[in-house]
Amino acid sequence: MSAPRWPRWFVACAGVTLALARASSAHAAADVVVGVSWSNFQEERWKTDEAALRAGLEALGARYVSTDAQSSSEKQASDIETLLARGADVLVVVAQDADTLRPTVRGALAEGVPVVAYDRLIELPGVFYLSFDNVEVGRQEARAIEHVRPAGRYVFIKGAATDPNADFVHRGQLEVLAPAIAAGRIEVVGDQYVEGWLPEVAQRVMEQILTQNGDRVDAVVCSNDGMAGGVLAALRAQGLEGLPLSGQDGDRAALARVARGLQTVSVWKDARALGARAAEIATALARGAAPGSIAGALRWRSGPDKPELDALLLAPVPITRDRLGEVIDAGWIAKADVCRGAAEPALARAEPALAVAEPALEKAEPALEKAKPALEKAKPAVARAEPALERGTVSARGATDLPPACR
């Protein structure tokens, strides 16, 4: 029997880990260590958040240490303990599940480490809540839809029933539309939650609402961009594309739809602004600033359990056709991605009209050639061609009517 030996790969891994650990502790020159506990990196946006937060901390001379809980609330609790052990002076937490994190966060606060709840609410007195105002997202969606269709038959497509954000957004939508609903200008003909915010489920739900109402729907207040894509597919199958339709997130596909006039608004939450503010707030709190002294902070108590928290809620931006320039200027999306095919819908409308006009004209021509007796025969064909030609010309003109940002 030979003596037990560690496999070679194990030794190599252990070596690398040790080397890395030493390297990371080597540059502990900064006075403030900011520990960031991410819930996951599964969605595209978190990379943007991380880059903004890191850049902000670097500029302020603070050190960034982070963990990724990989969507596990148990892992996140131990992650936070690890961050404290690594000497974090302040914590920024993107909570996977706020309720299960409470004991851990309470422990951190008891040690005198300030905690910033980033994007997702942690309802504990002493926590600083930094997020976009989700109720405001709903208000902006509803305002944009009501602006283009102040009265008519409305449909609400809400997010997952299990996600409190779905209700925050819907609360904002109702806040704006309640007077019109009460006055009878707006009639709600469909109102459904969509499991997991899934686009294909939203599509099925919208198909059924259209069937139920015999297509008599005037506007769709949809809570996010992914579901708006599904709703639009359902509308398109009935030739109804172009109905007022809202969303949020500033997805590329959604912004392209806004440029094409297929979606009214995409409410955009600039993750970079959130990351930058988090860097400022975390550094200030670690250096001993009072939470109330942060610019723009307010005492907030609208959470489900109504504890009073210091909070900073950033306002999102409703990106409509006329405001597409703002996302392009911010570098969120390339102009080419937004404007690709922006003229297409108008051209598509022009094409069938022109297609009708052309054969009619062709039929008219030989008749004209047959001189005066045949002219009588030609007249009705010409008359038939004219309105179609006019429609074609008008639509073709519409094709040059690009959103301002695309000109």
């Binding site: 059924q208 069937t211 139920q212 597919a233 596909a253």
Partner: protein, 396 residues
């Protein structure tokens, strides 16, 4: 071949169709006939097609005593590939881009399935574990294809596969399809009678075969008539059979033939019935198992193609939780989780039952939570009914 002809021999099939009929009548009354309007039946057919296509493969997998939990993730992954391939790797305008992208998606689906099958068959890892891993792996891979970005718009020709505005084949082609299907059924009946006569076996009475043919004709022509009765919004032209439903019908007929008529299909049943006996009888159990998973992967990819075409976009969350509907459709259709017994026509009706409940409750404005409860309870009840009738038949 037709559901009906089989229904006579399999009481389960008759019970399932009766259950579906009862659900339809119930919803038709509750919705003042909206549920059974041509438009809603068209919706229902298209909405059921994705789960229906995949359920045909799941019947094979479950019959062979395995399970595939990764179908929803494979759907998402291959759907994203098909979307990205036609818009970014190839040119959207090029006529050949979407057929190439579709072929790529189906190929990758088959490979992914074969890869999972290899772990199950040649490495002896239980299918539950392999495909549970696959569920995570391919959901992650779907995300990585574009780093989570939604891909849209897609090629115009491709969107026909989704059954939208231009996604149906029109009235003349629909009637042609019906004529071909009925001709094949009639020819098969004649051939069966002739063969039985040649071997001196008594055929079923002629009136019975004729009756079955007449009822089949009424069903097929009725289906086509309903699809034609749903009109295009502007032109008022009849829509005809939607392309995804045509794909589903072809898949069901093809997979049914594979399952019932080929050596491969009979091996699958034999392995499911008793793997040791099948191996002793000289069946290459491992190769057949790998084949079953490859078929499942290809059909999941076909589901991905239809979903993507229907949405007109590729989104990485597509197909989340679809595995549950697919397994439920197969099980409601009488496929035994103990293996050895499965029915593709049953799975087709199972998919229709699941989607009818969802569709009808949505028309009634039932909340999503209540819908989930109802569908869950129906699943349990359906399998209990099936198990209890099966036990009775077994005893008799």
């Amino acid at each position: 071949m037709t559901l009906l002809a089989r229904g006579q021999r399999e009481p389960r099939m008759l019970a399932l169709t009766a259950a579906l009929g009862a659900i339809w009548v119930g919803f038709a009354i509750a919705t003042d006939g909206v549920f059974t309007s041509p438009r809603n039946l068209y919706n229902l057919a298209v909405q059921s097609s994705v789960v229906g296509v995949m359920a045909c493969g799941m019947v094979l997998v479950i019959t062979a005593r395995h399970i595939d939990l990764a179908v929803g993730s494979v759907l998402g992954f291959t759907g994203m590939l098909v979307a990205v391939a036609q818009t970014e790797w190839l040119s959207v305008e090029a006529a050949a881009s979407w057929p190439l992208a579709t072929a790529l998606g189906l190929g990758v689906g088959a490979l992914v399935g074969a890869w999972q099958g290899w772990w199950v068959a040649y490495r002896g890892v239980p299918a539950f574990v392999v495909t549970l891993g696959g569920l995570l792996v391919f959901r992650g891979a779907a995300y990585l294809v574009t780093d989570g970005r939604t891909v849209a718009p897609l090629a115009v020709g491709f969107e026909r596969l989704g059954g939208g505005l231009s996604g149906s084949i029109g009235a003349p082609a629909s009637f042609s399809v019906a004529a071909v299907v009925l001709a094949v059924v009639a020819l098969q009946t004649v051939r069966r009678r002739r063969e039985r006569a040649q071997h001196g076996i008594a055929s079923e009475p002629a009136w019975r075969d004729v009756a079955v043919l007449v009822v089949s004709a009424v069903c097929v022509l009725g289906f086509v008539a309903v699809m034609n009765a749903h009109e295009q919004p502007v032109t008022g032209e009849p829509r005809g059979i939607p392309v995804p439903v045509l794909v589903w019908i072809a898949t069901a007929i093809g997979m049914s033939a594979l399952f019932r008529r080929t050596r491969f299909g009979r091996y699958v049943s034999a392995i499911g019935g008793n793997p040791e006996a099948a191996a002793l009888a000289g069946i290459d159990v491992r190769r057949v198992t790998l084949g079953v998973f490859a078929w499942m992967g290809a059909l999941a990819a076909l589901g991905g193609v239809i979903t993507t075409a229907r949405l007109g976009a590729g989104a990485n969350s597509m197909g989340t939780l679809a595995e549950l509907s697919v397994i439920a459709a197969a099980v409601i259709g009488g496929t035994s989780l103990a293996g050895g017994r499965g029915s593709i026509p049953g799975a087709v009706v199972g998919a229709l039952i699941m989607q009818s409940l969802e569709n009808g409750m949505l028309l009634l404005g039932v909340s999503s939570a209540a819908r989930q409860i109802a569908i869950g309870l129906v699943l349990i009840a359906a399998v209990w009914l099936d198990a209890s009738t099966h036990a009775r038949v077994g005893k008799a």
